[in-house]
């Protein structure tokens, strides 16, 4: 954990890949006890996802899996077996929260939908994260982050300076699956607050598509009020709102207020541009962007990212350096806040991971614990807590239960 906030809260995660594991990670980081259930055959799919340490694929060396599952306990269980079903319901009986991101069809088949689970434990909070939610015509559709991003409407408006002969693209990595997990954690935390005060649980139905839609406030406002349909040509009306090259990389000059532009031309040593009729406002600068862009670039190319970033910010210009991961890892601001954390594992040594973006004034920050090896806590949970013997574990294994 990072902060002991949800001390005593018991969470069962039957999640795969990103959305539910990330939601569970957030609760684990806040001190909840998360037991992650993985299929005995193969474990979570993210165990097979790059990046791998030294490019050597191994179930225990995926940077993505290690990040998503730190601070959790891990057991293997096949819920399709009769014994597996029995053990699963025992685990749920004493849990406060159940998190999952499987298809509604699969959960129904395993008798793990909310209605049977509510019978086992009426006070449980069950949070399900699926691409399209638990209801509606697409509820059983196949999907992945690419599809959610596009069906959630963000692809159509990305990228901003685009020409529409090129395909819409999505943001990097699996950003929107993470955002869905983050949203699910918010929903779950509010329900935990209610559970603590009233003893009541509920079902939370989180849709990754809807989580993507929360990024569309400008699109929906323009559509509702002005009948505009935003597309990838939207930047046409506003400048500068661009990523521009500089001596050693790129900077992001995206301004909203005219005063910011006026301060920026001062920083560039060209205060007279503020009075140039062609560059008088965002719309006009956009119109004459082909003339203005080379002028700005002539200046940016003389300096490094860091020089432009610092000089702009010192003059209250909201410009940013376009940082690579290498630069982010060296960032002095993040270092001052101790954002990155090291986790030691006996077999592989020290790894650096992104930490958490929140700091609590009343709670001491603690050291996070490495993600579980596949089935690492089987003995602790099955024997130590549930009363099975080591002999049972052998028989479970033979029967394909764990």
């Amino acid at each position: 954990m990072f902060y002991k906030v949800l001390d005593g809260l018991k969470v069962i995660e039957y999640g795969n890949f990103i959305s539910a594991p990330f939601c569970a990670k957030i609760l684990a980081d806040l001190g909840a006890e998360v037991i992650k259930i993985e299929e005995p055959c193969c474990g979570d799919d993210s165990r097979r996802q790059a990046p791998f340490l030294n490019d050597i694929p191994s179930l225990e060396n995926s940077g993505l899996f290690q990040y998503l599952n730190m601070n959790k306990l891990g057991i293997t269980l096949n819920p399709a077996s009769a014994t597996g079903t029995k053990i699963f319901s025992e685990l749920l009986k004493s849990a406060d929260v159940f998190l999952e991101n499987n298809s509604p069809e699969k959960m129904k088949k395993l008798k793990l939908s909310y209605s049977p689970i509510k019978q086992i434990n009426p006070r449980i909070i069950m949070t399900s994260i699926t691409p399209f939610g638990q209801t509606g015509p697409y509820k059983n559709y196949e999907s992945c982050e690419l599809i959610s991003a596009h069906m959630g409407g963000v692809g159509y408006i990305s990228m901003r300076e685009g020409d529409i002969s090129k395909e819409p693209i999505k943001l990097p990595a699996h950003l929107f699956s993470f955002q869905a997990g983050l949203s699910a954690a918010v929903a779950t935390l509010s329900s935990i607050f209610r559970q603590t005060t009233t003893g009541l649980g509920e079902q939370l139905d989180v849709s990754e598509q809807e989580s993507v839609i929360q990024n569309l406030n400008s699109s929906i406002a323009r559509y509702a009020y002005a009948g505009q349909i935003m597309a990838r040509t939207d930047a046409a009306g506003h400048a500068p709102f661009h990523i521009l090259p500089c001596k050693d990389g790129f900077v992001c000059a995206a301004f909203v207020e005219e005063a910011e532009w006026r301060r920026f031309v001062e920083v560039m040593g060209h205060p007279e541009w503020a009075d140039n009729e062609l560059f008088k406002d965002f719309a006009s600068r956009a119109k004459y962007w082909d003339a203005l862009k080379p002028l700005i670039i002539e200046w940016t190319m003389q300096y490094t990212e860091e020089e432009i970033y610092r000089r702009s910010q010192e003059n209250t210009v909201p410009l940013g350096a376009v940082r690579t991961a290498h630069q982010v890892l060296q960032d002095k601001q993040m270092a001052a806040r101790q954002f990155f954390v090291d986790i030691n594992r006996k077999d592989t040594g020290k790894w650096t991971f992104p930490g958490v973006p929140y700091r609590f004034s009343e709670i001491q920050r603690e050291k996070p614990v490495a993600a579980p090896l596949l089935g690492q806590h089987n003995e602790e949970i099955y024997c130590g807590r549930m009363g099975y013997t080591r002999g049972d574990l052998v028989r479970f294994k033979e029967a394909g239960v764990i």
């Binding site: 990046p51 970033y309 690579t324 929140y358």
Partner: protein, 401 residues
């Protein structure tokens, strides 16, 4: 039984633009009473942004009405001693204060955490500045796209082999909102258990970085910068957007197994090219994806994006349109789930908002975004017991302003 989760929790909101207001909108869905403190001295820029049919309608425009729905608004000038006195009274009867103003704003008015804590010992203060409230760059300014640049997201965003670009939707704002809510709700749960309040500080740039661990871990584990990949996946191919019938219409398709690839080929009528060794397994398809994508595009272009989705979903291949906002609002599934809500705003007229991105039977029913100072009477008179005469004076002296 169906009482919203945060019924009875009162939140004071010093918020503007997007990340802060969206926290308020979600809290309202959870049943909290959110009171936004505004002043005519400096309005939320989103109140006046010109997205409207009638610019003369004033200060209820554009995305302000999307993110601030369900909350209350009062006008109070904190630069006046009387204004400060009133806000302190409100703090005394509140549970949480949220702000996405610069870190110096609240202390500047004389209501930093130390002061707030004296007024109400178990108060929870949630600050959501761009780079956090501590550290050498704490006063740096940022919009969503700047955060994405500094947080390491932009450098990995763009078409393969091209330069980085600014994203269309700026997800760093709602990501900030959600992290703000994680901190807030965690602190509320902590207060429930211990009786203690606290200051929770969230750095939005750290939030962005924490959602792209693949990019960071590639550098940590292998010393490599993740390239810009457009729609590409690291393993799957095909995994892209393909042109469809109509102007600027596209369908996204992702295939993760050979069995699904064969199912996809059958739908396309098993064209000769699909049997080429170049596309014989995932590895080959990935290696030759540019050529593959062109060939698939040659098939998709004769169908609408909906037709491609329906044909492929029938054989369980992941596919769906790259929706524009109009298509999204009118899509049968989206309509069925009621994610968008039509509201009749007293000033702005027909408004479309979206609810929080989850369904809960406990979600509160809420009114449209407030007009400027709409709830002055409720807060000043009913909550704080200030007399009509005094209120008139406060308006006269521009304390309520």
């Amino acid at each position: 039984m169906s009482t919203p989760s945060l019924k009875g929790i009162r939140v004071i909101a010093f918020t503007w633009v997007w990340a802060g207001p969206w926290m308020g909108g979600v809290l309202a869905d959870m049943g909290a009473e959110v009171i936004k403190i505004e002043t005519r001295q400096r309005l939320d820029s989103q109140r006046v942004v010109k997205i409207t049919k009638n610019p003369e309608q004033g200060v209820n425009q554009g995305q302000f009405n999307v993110t601030n729905r369900g909350i209350k608004s009062i006008t109070l000038n904190l630069k006046q001693p009387k204004g400060l006195e009133i806000i302190k009274k409100l703090v005394k009867i509140s549970d949480v204060i949220i702000t996405n103003f610069a870190p110096r704003a609240l202390p500047g008015w004389g209501i930093g955490y130390d002061v707030l804590k004296e007024i109400k010992p178990d108060i929870i203060l949630v600050t959501l500045p761009a780079f956090g409230s501590t550290g050498p760059d704490k006063d740096y300014l940022s919009y969503g796209s700047t955060l994405e640049a500094v947080g390491g997201l932009s450098s990995s965003f763009g078409y393969p082999g091209e330069t980085p670009v600014i994203s269309g939707p700026y997800p760093s704002d709602p990501i900030g909102s959600m992290y703000g809510l994680v901190g807030l709700l965690a602190a509320l749960n902590y207060r429930n258990r211990t009786g203690k309040g606290q200051h929770v500080d969230i750095a939005q740039n750290e939030g962005v970085t924490s959602l792209i661990p693949e990019v960071i871990m590639e550098e940590v584990m292998n010393g490599r910068t993740r390239p810009r990949m457009g729609n590409r996946d690291e393993i799957m191919a095909p995994h892209s957007c393909y042109p469809c019938k109509g102007h600027d219409k596209w369908v996204a398709i992702a295939v993760d197994t050979d069995a699904k690839w064969h199912a996809f080929c059958r739908i396309m009528g098993d064209p000769e090219w699909s049997k080429d060794e170049k596309f014989s397994d995932q590895y080959h398809r990935w290696q030759n994806q540019d050529e593959l994508n062109k060939l698939i595009g040659g098939w998709t272009k004769d169908f609408t994006h909906y037709q491609v989705m329906q044909q492929l979903q029938k054989v369980r291949v992941a596919a769906g349109p790259s929706f524009n906002i109009e298509e999204l609002v009118n899509d049968p599934h989206v309509k069925n789930r009621s994610i968008f809500i039509e509201q009749n705003h007293p000033v702005a007229g027909k408004t479309i908002v979206y609810r929080s991105p989850w369904k809960s039977a406990l979600t509160a029913k809420n009114p449209p975004a407030p007009c400027l100072g709409e709830n002055n009477s409720y807060v000043f008179k009913e909550l704080l017991g200030i007399s009509d005469k005094e209120i008139a004076e406060l308006i006269e002296t521009k304390v309520i302003y």
